[in-house]
Symmetry: C2
Subunit: 122 residues, 2 copies
């Protein structure tokens, strides 16, 4: 059977359900989500254009897409100012803030791991 309705997607669903860890990964697992989150953590409010400044390589599509996903996951909030030159700011929600420690730990561990591997890790 070649044409099933995506084993991949089904599998993912199953995993997300059974393992909170995979669930978490799915929330922050986009290519650029770490960078976006990071920018939000360091700055209270971030404008669309600011994202593009701190993450120059990202494309509009991906940025907008990831922002929407994060918003849908209640991690960030989108604040629109109905002004003449459109202005939109993004900020972390409480939920978003609640993952700061986790993200910092990931950063720390990542650095630690990188060191260990470079050296003579077991």
């Amino acid at each position: 059977m070649r044409k099933h309705n995506s084993t991949n997607a089904l599998n993912e669903q199953a995993i997300l359900d059974q393992c909170g860890m995979a669930y978490t990964l799915s929330l922050i697992g986009g290519r650029w989500k770490p960078s976006i989150l990071w920018a939000l953590i360091r700055n209270d409010k971030v404008r669309y254009s600011h994202f593009k400044k701190v993450i120059p390589e990202i494309s509009d599509r991906i940025l907008a897409l990831h922002l929407r996903e994060l918003e849908a996951d209640k991690l960030i909030r989108r604040v629109v100012y109905a002004e003449v030159p459109p202005r939109v700011e993004y900020e972390l929600t409480d939920l978003g803030r609640s993952m700061e420690v986790m993200l910092e730990q990931m950063t720390t561990w990542g650095a630690f791991h990188k060191e260990a591997v470079k050296g003579s890790a077991t």
Copy 2:
């Protein structure tokens, strides 16, 4: 320019370099890696066939592939017993153990987030 040597890959490299968080994600970011790691955390030694028991949906290819990656990243160790019926056991390295707390935190946060979103998250 359509045919560069993978912007995607280059981007990923750049991210990994600047952000330990993304680096960490890249280590545990495979579809099944969480499950594999989880199995390793709960059991000291896990045989190839055991993985397939606890993760029935995984295919041989992906399992072997992920195991190799984790091994390359020094997170797990592959112990081969040159016996008549081939036996191979996998276990966490010290480095692998060092991420237990992080993974647990991710699990906890994931559960927390799931609850929050289900309710009336901000």
